[in-house]
Amino acid sequence: MKFLPLLWAQLFRRKTRTILTLLSVLIAFLLFGLLQAVQIAFESGADAADAKRLLTTARYSIIEPLPLAYRSRIERVPGVVAVANADWFGAKYQNESNAFPVFAVDPARYLDMYPEFLVAPAQREAFVKTATGALAGKRLADRYGWRVGQKLPIASEIHAKTDGSLNWEFDLVGTFDAEDPAVQGNTDMVLINLAYFDEARQFGRGKTGWYIVRVGDSEQAKAIAADIDRQFMNSPDETKTQPEKEFAIGFAKQIGDVGALVTRILLAVFFTILILTGNTMAQAIRERVPELAILKTLGFSDGAVTLLVLGEAVLLLGLGGAAGMATAVAFMPMLNGATGGRFPPLFVAGETWALAALVAVGLALAIGLPPALRVRRLRIVDALAGHR
């Protein structure tokens, strides 16, 4: 550590150059932080998944409905602890299609199934008891400025009421939220009461979109899923049951390989940074050859001088990288505000920091090693005489 002032002095020998290089490293790591956050947000469904939850959908297409009567049959499958169900409402709000998802659910069963959704007990009670009640994710309510107690006019693109109208109205009785930012993206929805919805809709009565099943032992999850599907085999409505995580991964895969896209962009970014800083570094060392020779004359070993040069590279990438990641973190609230909750919440995860550190050290070695080795081989006499 006693060499830190020396490293610092070396690094800032030419201020403009070092600051410009630091700024480009900062930008590279800022992009890294942001793009990783986007990728994690796309894949957050799988992270937030509960290993004890299964999803049962129609076998051939997840948009086909299943009979409501399946609930009690699924409950009887050994190993099943609880069953909830939900149906897709097809919301159109303020003339915007699918502005947010609206699910028709059995309130108590659904909220019990997702303990990570936090609701005030009084509001939960109100949701259970109010036929026309609705519960909205807090981020969503904030985005539209909804107040608990107000009427919520939402049109459906799919379900007409018995009078033929597509315009529904619900009473907002409460909001729910989640602590984990990876789960928070799943709260951007409105829950309504299935009992009321099923009675008031024109078509599709007695059906629901999908079932959520809780099992007692996650080790048994796959076996229980197979048991459930066997129940309905060869019936008009065959099912497909899979662990929540598998479902989420499958859905993310439908979007395509976001990870590969992000990786390719970042490769381009870091390759550019490697060339840029590598060149600056080489230039800086070349300029200092006489000084480094003097250090050797003073008794610094070959190894010590090599380490000094490497240390300079590590310091450069470390400073720039840390500043870039910190800037990415500072950007997050602004970005989350700008997307207005249309996108799952972005955050810089711990693993992103670890990966950033790894990348920074890797780059520092790639950039610092060639000049460091050159300095190691440097003969004092030649260097002082000016023959390089």
């Binding site: 403009t16 930008i27 051939y60 693109e157 008009p236 499958g250 895969k253 439908q254 550019t272 060149n279």
Partner: protein, 397 residues
């Protein structure tokens, strides 16, 4: 023109010098090539997606959906309504007097991508016989059309390329039905190429549907007046609660969310990378000037003006930037143009396959960005070069 002559002279000296400073010059070129390459490829993705949806349909054709529905998946048109719609006077008829209207159902079927196992929502469209006369851009590239009344399908070119088991002769199982693939069709690169087509009646019985989702028809009079007349006759009929859109309008709507998302991603990444590359260019140009300090001071001492020095440095920066821009654009073109992928369109909840399109417009945009970065990276160093005090520069150099 002594002044212009000075600019030319200094610029020539500078440019002849570039090979001696190859390392630093390459940094500018590579930095800018990176920015332009990434920007152009991501925007080419957005462009390809938009193009696929925008090239679907013709203004002379209309989509009729249930009033209030923005997408086929959420629409419903019952059989009686479909019959009434087909008989409306505003629609074109074929030589035999049959209306050019096709009532269609769309369901999602699960198919894995090639070499994978996870299911994807692939659109399966049941069409009526008139569909082929209405969409005459559709051509068979392999096999034949499906026969009426039989469980046979024809598959869009891009769906066949992206998803498993869609070659002619293979059998696919959906629901409690087995289907045989009998043909592969092209459709001018539009969204229908991501679909599977079958006979509407067979599809309805197999998927146990009683109603259609949309009616596509050709207008008898494709002018706005003709469309207005059709809309009016629909509004007058109390049995119908149907919205009418020209096809291009309908499909442009389906591109809104994803198209915007990709474009925003491309520009955000591009802006940040451009800022980073500007710092790199600044660094390079500063060091270029530092290494030529004596030269510049000598020129100034023998009577060259400050302005020619500024301009010559700017020209050098812009030339390097231009090379970077061309390299970046060329890389994007070679690696991305025509590459195809498929993704979930959030508007329709179904898979759409499309190709990257590196257009001339995008390449021009990339070059513009490169020049702007070159300009930003060259200006400050150029000014410093011109302001260099002659005596001091000669002494310290």
């Amino acid at each position: 023109m002594p002044w212009l002559n000075q600019v030319v002279q200094i610029t020539l000296i500078n440019l002849q010098n570039v090979p001696r400073r190859l390392g630093t010059s390459l940094v500018v070129v590579i930095g800018i090539a990176g920015v332009v390459g990434v920007l152009v490829s991501v925007l080419a993705m957005a462009e390809g997606f938009r193009h696929t949806l925008a090239s679907t349909g013709r203004p002379s054709r209309v989509m009729m959906l249930r009033a209030g529905s923005d997408a086929e998946l959420s629409s419903g048109v019952v059989r009686d309504q479909a019959i009434v719609l087909a008989s409306l006077p505003g629609l074109a008829r074929d030589a035999g007097g049959r209306p050019l209207a096709s009532a269609e159902i769309v369901v999602m079927v699960d198919l894995p991508r090639k070499g994978q196992r996870d299911p994807n929502n692939v659109p399966f469209r049941g069409v009526q016989p008139a569909a082929f006369d209405i969409r005459d851009e559709l051509t068979l590239i392999e096999g034949r059309r499906f026969a009426r009344g039989v469980r046979e399908v024809m598959v869009g070119r891009k769906a066949a390329a992206q998803f498993e088991g869609l070659s002619v002769g293979s059998r696919i199982a959906f629901r409690d039905s087995d289907w045989t693939v009998v043909g592969i069709f092209a459709s001018g690169g539009d969204v229908h190429e991501s679909e599977i087509w079958a006979d509407a009646e067979v599809a309805m019985s197999a998927f146990r549907r009683t109603g259609f989702q949309s009616v596509t028809a050709t207008l008898a009079d494709p002018s706005d007046a003709g469309l207005a007349a059709l809309k009016e006759s629909i509004a007058r009929d109390r049995r119908l609660s149907i919205g009418v859109l020209r096809e291009p309008e309908y499909y442009a709507k389906q591109a809104s969310v994803l198209g915007t998302l990709i474009t925003v991603l491309g520009y955000s990444v591009g802006v940040f990378m451009a800022i980073g590359a500007t710092f790199g260019a600044l660094n390079c140009m500063y060091s270029a000037i530092a290494s030529r300090q004596v030269e510049i001071a000598t020129l100034r001492a023998i009577g060259f003006g400050g302005m020619p020095v500024v301009i010559s440095v700017m020209i050098e920066a812009l030339a390097l930037a231009l090379v970077g821009g061309v390299v970046g654009g060329a890389l994007a073109y070679v690696y991305c143009d025509g590459a195809s992928l498929s993704t979930l369109n959030f508007n329709t909840f179904s898979q759409v396959a499309f190709d990257f399109r590196v257009t001339r417009g995008l390449l021009a945009r990339g070059l513009t960005w490169a020049l702007v970065i070159g300009m930003a990276g060259g200006l400050l160093p150029a000014i410093r070069a011109a302001r260099l005090p002659v005596t001091e520069a000669l002494r310290t150099g």
